[in-house]
Amino acid sequence: MISPAVVLDHVQKTYGQGAQAHTALQSVSLEVPAGEFLCLLGASGCGKSTLLHLIAGLEPPTSGSVSVPAGGAAMMFQDPALFPWLSVADNIGFPLARKGLGATAQKARVQELLAMVNLDGWGHRQPHELSGGMRQRVALARALAQDARVLLMDEPFAALDAMMRDRLHDEIERVWRETGLTIVFVTHNVREAARLADRVIVLASHPGRIAGEFSVKLPRPRRIDAPEVAQLSRTITDSLRSVLRGNDDAS
């Protein structure tokens, strides 16, 4: 197997102190091989966003270690979080400018990225002039502009309609194939995980921990409504149910 891009070793994250302490993640160990498309699946509040924030370096773990490749990870938030004071092109160029890339080189790279997410000619618009799906694509282009080897995505398509989501699934899969990125993709949606992932990791709640793992060997590109995808979704859903039942027994 290829060397791992992201390694989490017995990671624990506790918020608050004393009686207020709340363990969001407990003893999470995880290796993500370079180039893998990994989906994290779990109930609301089980610690998926926390896990991504730890990998992104936005928060430190309470104990354990997190390692990512040099240059860190890029992150796409659930909300596109575009800057309304910048044009679409300047939003995408933001990480390039922070790296000190010259204006011409930046412009050229932004054009490339706009083309990659099918938004040629939209660079001079302001974010509020775009539809929700277009904004998500700008956020994707901006995350790609960071040129990190790892891309973290926190339920990026949760707020979109099914049709737009299908299109963006195709797009993210194509980008992943073209760039050889390692992607950690968080979702509530079992079908979405089965559609996209090389591997699905199921998280249990209270405290957040790894409860199960599915390797997905189905050929790509997959259709979200293909029978194999549906069947895999059923298997994963059953496992999620038993994880949830386990939680109920524990509490």
Partner: protein, 262 residues
Amino acid sequence: MQASSSTPSPWLARLAALATAILLWQVVVWSGWKPVWLLPSPLTVFLRLATLATEPAFYWAIFYTLVRAVSGYAMAVGIGVASALLMLRFRLLRTTVAGLLTGLQSMPSVIWFPLAILLFQLGEGAILFVVVLGAFPSIANGLLHSIDHIPPLWIRAGKMLGARGWSLVAHVYLPAAMPGFVGGLKQGWAFAWRSLMAGELLVIISDRPSIGTRLSFARELSDAPDLLAWMIVVLGIGMLVDGLLFSTIERRIRIKRGLFET
């Protein structure tokens, strides 16, 4: 486009308000409440204003006043922004000084004149001192409050995208705070302009006859038309700066960020 038919254009509304005010003035004059040499009619005053506007001294007075306004205001913006940034950087400073700042903001600027005159004598320094003290607290407070209300997501995104330290301030904090900050700048201008007018009435510098000087002279000579004409100039400058400068900037920002209801 359709909305404009139901709500009158802002300029039309302003014109109507102005006409009403002038009419009220005329009515008071007609009522004979005061003799006309104390309270002249709008027409007399506007004719006087027209005469004044033919003299170079009229423009010099406006020029002297505007130079003071602009330099005092520029200093207030510099000090206001710097003090707000310092307070953001050093939390302790903020917990101790923020209350004081609001206190300063609520203080009538005339209160500073005795001290200013002690410190700077009857000169430009005294006026500048009061203008800066009058304006900078609103500017600092405006910036502080608008930074407090930035959605944390933008800060996180900015950090994630490689902005750290000063670059985070320059490329995320400041632009994100801009709409609220313009409000603070606008309020700061209003305070600066008021302080300046108070200053020019108290501190007369005779080799630079500014608007305030002309107002004082008019009062001493009991020249009511002159006095009212200069008051209209003060009102006009205030409205122009607000209407042309700040409101335009605010509008631009709101349109650019899609903050207008359509």
